[in-house]
Point group: D2
Chain length 342, copies 4
């Protein structure tokens, strides 16, 4: 059996494990106040070229989204997102559980366009009944999106400018940020994200860590007592070192970028193989998630040997499935997969 | 100025006021435990032909929706509704404030079809990731809808049967129920609603009362301690008599039906006038809300003399507006309006 | 049977009813935007000597408390209250339902003292673990309290000054404010309340109205989009006129004060009678609520003829009960009661 | 500097780390569906002698408490706890954030007695106003408590029996359960806890793991779709292996019990030293947390060399501090501490 279901199939990159072992018996204070959390923050600030960045470490994506969004919104506000956004569909209603509506707007291949955003915001404020409606209070995007796609620098700049015009923060879910930054065609680097977003998170869980996401507030805009809000959401780790040490390792010697690049390289090779073998792509994803459309019979046959993720139905006879590479995928894995893909 | 903005422009029907005056100095227990609440419940049970109906009185529509829906759902559940449903758009996120997602499904002219509902529910349970998603736990419909349209008995029966198949309750928002029941073409009577819905409410505020909605649980299915949940939602009136007496009056001698019929008769005359004068209807509403499409210049001209509600844009140059008749609309009002409609 | 259970046994004062009748057929806009709401606001601002007061009308006490408190607090904050405070005990957890903790502090006869408040706040901020605790974000007091007692001007001033020092608003629940203002010994008038409190409400339901409470923000401190938050809490009345007209009547020609004074006068006569007859007072309440301690056997005997409220047990053999007078209590009621009290 | 602040100063026990390394490159499914989670569940069921136990793994204590409690309560219910309970004070209002009140009852040294519980429950149901109050829907205890104390088997049995009588579940927070089970005087073993509690959790974070708590439902009473509720609370780990492998290691070859015993042995030696040196104990804690009362001047002197936790003020001149041993404390640590304690 070959496993390409996701980018979180293995444990952690060995350099991360090594650091956990080396530091294991050091006595450190809890709740993310240890020196490794501090060191990781310094490195992230530098890589973002954002000396004023305020950084927090949480354990997972859904808890990060609910904590950041709940802390940022006032009771009468909701968060704008694509209908395919992770918070819209696959977080079991975590945002609504905090009392806020997810305001879905038109999207394309996982992405929101500035022009749709302007229309939504303008229509809202023009509506004579808007005081009886949920105020848009934040914009949520993911990069890469749930469909593996990426924003260009120009697209981010435009979204950012619309948000600024309406005084609502732009929040970027970077669960797979590394894979986005290392994608071949992208012109978006970490400092761009820090520049255009008001808050974002750098995903660890899906990029080589055992767990952990780093939330970055970039505009001296951290919600008051955000630390206590993290605690209230059950997202403050007693052994904060677990995330601090991992992020410190990920951002030492370019590890985060190197292992992300591996996933992209493997994905690119795999895409070529799929193309040559005549597989039909669902979309043009430039990152480590590859979506292909399989005839259902063929899907069943392949399932016997290959692990992939069911994504969505494509009519009665076809299904969209996802193959994901990761920091841990080797060229041998790809070759073995190639042999099975027929 | 002629006012046709809504069906809640006046106070209460005079028979209601009279009963409030007659009973004013009686000393009655609070919190809806008085004899008028009891008497109103008896009458409603009889009219619903549902002797086991369990009935509660609240003050307004949004508080009724949030209280009923929150009480009925478990934390992992959301409520299915049309995107145009009142809870989806015009209740300021009251449902999400209780922690639950509104799950929007395809609708037409304000109505949900059984076939769309089946598809949604089947797709949900077929989705391999559905444990990471919000479970559909209730279906919300309004009757009349926000677009004045009505379900037929057959449509209600089919929705009810889908809900039963998936063991989720069907909830009907009857803010304007009287106008629906008295509509000319309808084959839906109160006992049908009690039969097909697990819970519904009979609107008072928009049908001649100063305030008040009567929630009816029809299947011995009242959520445990619903009374306390009403209190927690701030919806339990200290002077419950205010709603009890009003509903007792509304359901004495057919008052509720008679005054609803007046609104329908006036609306029908008005529709004929509008048709004769060549106005363009937005849809075919059989109830007291009439939606017409006006060229923007004309709309501005008419606004000088006529009060109506802005509903939505219809392209750049046109607007959908609503004219509503009510229990209080007289034939003179309609004639005066006819003179101004040119 | 003589009823002294509460101050909300009857409907409304006849002058209020009369105004409802007189204005009944006027066509007015909904949602508290009508001219009677405006007129009532003007009168309240004047009586408070607070021209900048921002005023909202809601239907009942619990919904007012939950809406004001939820709108005022940030997610990491709770509200300080006496353990006997209405929000602490008798609102079915409405405050917690909005996500906020009620932080109980020491109290005496329903009242919080400035010295206890200082201690609580100082201890909180001194606690090295306070970032893991709920931040005090508001102080809730009731006036009269749930035990009928009153703050003096000096006590209010001191509470206000502590709140100002810690930058947290002081909120006064005035469900029975009229009875407090008209109490014989008080030195607290409406302008004092407006001066010392950041927000308070003037109760209508228990002082002669059918329903309605007037929330007053006194320091240009209304939470942003409070109107939408009212809607979200299900507390925005479609027929806002119902509360607007009632408050306009209550604050015309001193009606609110006159009818409150009646309750106080009747209570004072009743207290003298009770004293003469040797009843034991639970406390020294200067307002319309009278608390007496009855031996259980005697309580049962009296219950046959007199309606009163059970308050709390006082050991195994005694019970504290409450007798309440109101705007509607007549001297004949008191005399009839006196005959039965033996 | 010697560190005795807490029992979570180091990383993980080396056997846990070793298993993480050995399994690191295995490709495992996510979200706690891997074989190590399964294996750990089998072991826990056996040790609890509870074959029907339903087990879930979460990352930390506060998220476990909020998720279990929210899933177990209906909207009108709150959870009974000691005022010193972790959920009452040091979880930043996480329970209230889920909409439920923490109902504090009398406690002693961190413990609730059955007699207080009966009184509370009886008084609640006897109160004629209880429909306006928060229903007690669960009892929360911690074992060891926040003051290091333990329930006896008999005490647990009595609490359990009161809970059964009132049909409310008994929930035990076992953040430090190992230390309780290995305490010298205790007669409570894991199967007793499984027998007397409806749900409890076995703490990993404070007993040798990097993170992780194992929730055990013992009576075929798991709330419906609890898995989805975990996800909604942001507490479902994508790499569930991280907790599964750790618990599998903790419950292999008695590791959990062995390392807990070490903490107890070290604590006992330390207590003897403290006693000999004349330190004043705040209470008689039989577990790994030792509470002593220090004169403030002395506290400041000791702080220069020894890390301990500030617990609470004891009057103006004294402070209660906590020293904690753990799975990682060595006899050398204790000796070094003894030298500094003078």
């Amino acid at each position: 059996m070959l496993n390409f279901e996701s980018d979180y199939l293995e444990g952690a990159h060995e350099k991360i494990l090594r650091r956990l072992i080396e530091t294991n018996m050091e006595k450190l204070p809890g709740y993310c106040t240890d020196k490794y959390c501090e060191s990781a923050k310094v490195k992230i600030r530098e890589l973002c070229r954002c000396p004023e960045a305020d950084i927090y470490f949480l354990a997972g994506g859904t808890q990060t989204n609910r904590t950041v969004i709940d802390a940022s919104l006032r009771p009468y506000e909701g968060v704008i997102a694509a209908p395919t956004g992770h918070i819209s569909t696959h977080e079991a209603g975590a945002i609504e559980d905090t009392g806020h509506k997810v305001l879905e707007i038109e999207s394309n291949d996982g992405k929101i366009e500035a022009v749709s955003l302007i229309k939504y915001l303008k229509d809202f404020h023009d509506d004579v009944n808007h005081e009886h409606m949920v105020y848009p209070g934040m914009v949520y995007i993911s990069h890469p999106t749930e469909y593996g796609t990426l924003y260009s620098k120009d697209e981010l700049r435009r979204l950012s400018s619309v948000c600024a015009e309406y005084s609502i923060p732009l929040y970027l879910d970077g669960a797979r940020l590394g894979y986005g930054l290392m994608s071949e065609g992208t012109d978006v680097a970490l400092p761009d994200i820090a520049e255009y977003c008001d808050v974002f998170y750098i995903g660890g869980t899906k990029v080589g860590a055992l767990c952990g996401e780093a939330v970055v507030f970039t505009k001296e805009n951290t919600p008051r007592h955000f630390y206590t809000i993290i605690k209230q959401n059950g997202a403050l780790m007693a052994k904060g070192r677990l995330v601090g040490i991992q992020f410190d390792a990920l951002f030492s010697d370019g590890l985060y970028f190197a292992i992300s690049r591996n996933a992209i390289e493997m994905a690119n090779i795999l895409k070529n193989i799929l193309r040559e073998k005549g597989f039909r792509f669902y979309n043009d994803s430039p990152t480590n998630q590859i979506f292909i459309v399989l005839e259902n019979e063929k899907m069943k046959r392949l399932q016997a040997d290959i692990g992939f993720s069911f994504w969505e139905k494509a009519g009665e006879d076809h299904t969209v499935v996802r193959l994901a590479t990761s920091w841990a995928t080797s060229i041998d894995d790809i070759r073995a997969l190639a042999d099975l893909l027929r």
